[in-house]
């Protein structure tokens, strides 16, 4: 910047002092209202300014039933996210402008980033083909986590016989939503690999051919220990390949579930320890993690798909 800015941090000096002073007052008040201030009992703060120790719940609460199936609060949050995304898509795609407005430029830059990721990982043709799936996962995970950070999202309560239940809760803090996403990825990977390579895809897992040939040689009277051993190891490698494919489901699920649940618990605990001002920092951190986790899930999906459709010989170069 050539021009010298007046004041501090882009504000005029009185405004900067006011904002900084306000933040400091809230910080001190937060420290006093937390367990530290209560321990020493220095102030007689009114009870509505302090928080009780939160109790994070692991299973999602069932709000109501439809034909015997329990509808949990995370499922309702999923619907809210879906409706939100459909509305955004409708708003942007109904009348796309050549010079994008605010909403359109956000969505365009997000999708452009994911598109570049797909094309650079899987090549032009496959990248275009699998872009819709990857972008859907990215947008769902991202906006699901971001919507949960909006104030009021988790505080909407539902009175029932079992006490107060939250109506909305971030969908990925329930174990089932990340599992569903991971299963979608897993079955897409296996199906596309099978479709593209035919039975050649199964060859990746069933690698007992060398072992069989070595065993066949024994009956012909040629006992070759090395061929037998290396054939056996090749067979084990095939089994390991299969196990690593299945383990992907678990790792994808727990990565997303753990991050989202940890984020929620961190926010709850920090709001208990220092109720004012400091949770703001963690809200920033959580919105950053939402982007990172969505990006990781989408990137891993396209990487797995591109590995499975390129065939074993071509994929072996990557390892």
């Amino acid at each position: 910047m050539a021009t010298k800015k007046k004041g501090c941090l882009g504000c005029s000096l009185p405004v900067a002092i006011l904002v900084g002073g306000g933040a400091l007052v809230f910080l001190v008040m937060g420290l006093l209202a937390g367990p530290l201030g209560r321990k020493f009992n220095v102030t007689g703060l009114p009870s509505w300014m302090t928080l009780e120790l939160p109790e994070p719940k692991l299973p999602a609460d069932v709000i109501f039933h439809i034909a015997g199936f329990g509808v949990t609060n995370t499922l309702i949050a999923t619907w809210v996210t879906v409706v939100f995304l459909v509305l955004i898509a409708f708003l942007v795609a109904r009348k796309p402008k050549l010079i994008p407005g605010r909403v359109q430029s956000i969505i365009e830059s997000l999708l452009g980033y994911v598109y570049d990721l797909c094309v650079s990982t899987a090549g032009e043709k496959d990248g275009r083909k699998f872009f819709p799936l990857v972008a859907t996962i990215f947008l769902f995970v991202l906006f699901n986590a971001l919507l949960a950070l909006i104030p009021g999202f988790g505080t909407l309560l539902f009175h029932s016989g079992e006490g107060n239940l939250e109506v909305l809760r971030a969908a990925n803090t329930d174990f089932n939503t990340p599992l569903a996403l991971a299963l979608i990825t897993f079955f897409t990977v296996e199906f596309m690999g099978f479709k593209r390579l035919g039975f050649g895809y199964v060859k990746k897992f069933v690698t007992w051919g060398d072992f069989g040939r070595a065993v066949g040689k024994i009956f012909k009277g040629k006992f070759d220990v090395m061929a037998l051993l290396s054939g056996f190891i090749m067979g084990i490698v095939g089994i390991l390949e299969f196990v690593s494919e299945v383990i992907r489901i678990i790792s994808l699920t727990f990565r997303l579930f753990g991050n989202m649940l940890a984020g929620e618990i961190v926010l709850l605990v920090i709001a208990y320890v220092v109720p004012y001002f400091v949770p703001l920092v963690f809200y920033g951190l959580e919105s950053f993690f939402a982007v990172i986790q969505a990006l990781i899930f989408a990137a891993l999906t396209i990487v797995y798909i591109s590995l499975s459709v390129t065939g074993h010989e071509a994929a072996a170069e990557h390892h």
């Binding site: 994070p56 692991l58 727990f254 990565r255 579930f257 991050n259 649940l261 940890a262 986790q293 990781i296």
Partner: protein, 76 residues
């Protein structure tokens, strides 16, 4: 030992021991990133994106430990 105490002890041990590996991993990632930037400062933007991605993947290992700890406290 009291089962409740064992539960809390297990949760603490799971989280603490589980954070060792990812801590070393994150250090290695930061090391590699700084080495790369020192050698080729122009590529910092692309390196930073990749670093964040790898850091997320590494951090996930600690998150698995956290999930186990949370399960021990709230479910077991």
């Amino acid at each position: 030992m009291d089962p409740e105490a064992a539960k809390l002890l297990g949760a603490g041990l799971a989280m603490g021991l589980g954070a060792i590996g990812p801590g070393i991993g994150l250090g290695l990632i930061g090391n590699a990133m700084l080495n790369g930037v020192a050698r080729n400062p122009e590529a910092q933007g692309r390196m930073f994106t990749n670093m964040i991605l790898m850091a997320g993947l590494t951090e996930a290992v600690a998150i698995y430990a956290l999930v186990i700890a949370v399960l021990l406290i709230f479910v077991a």
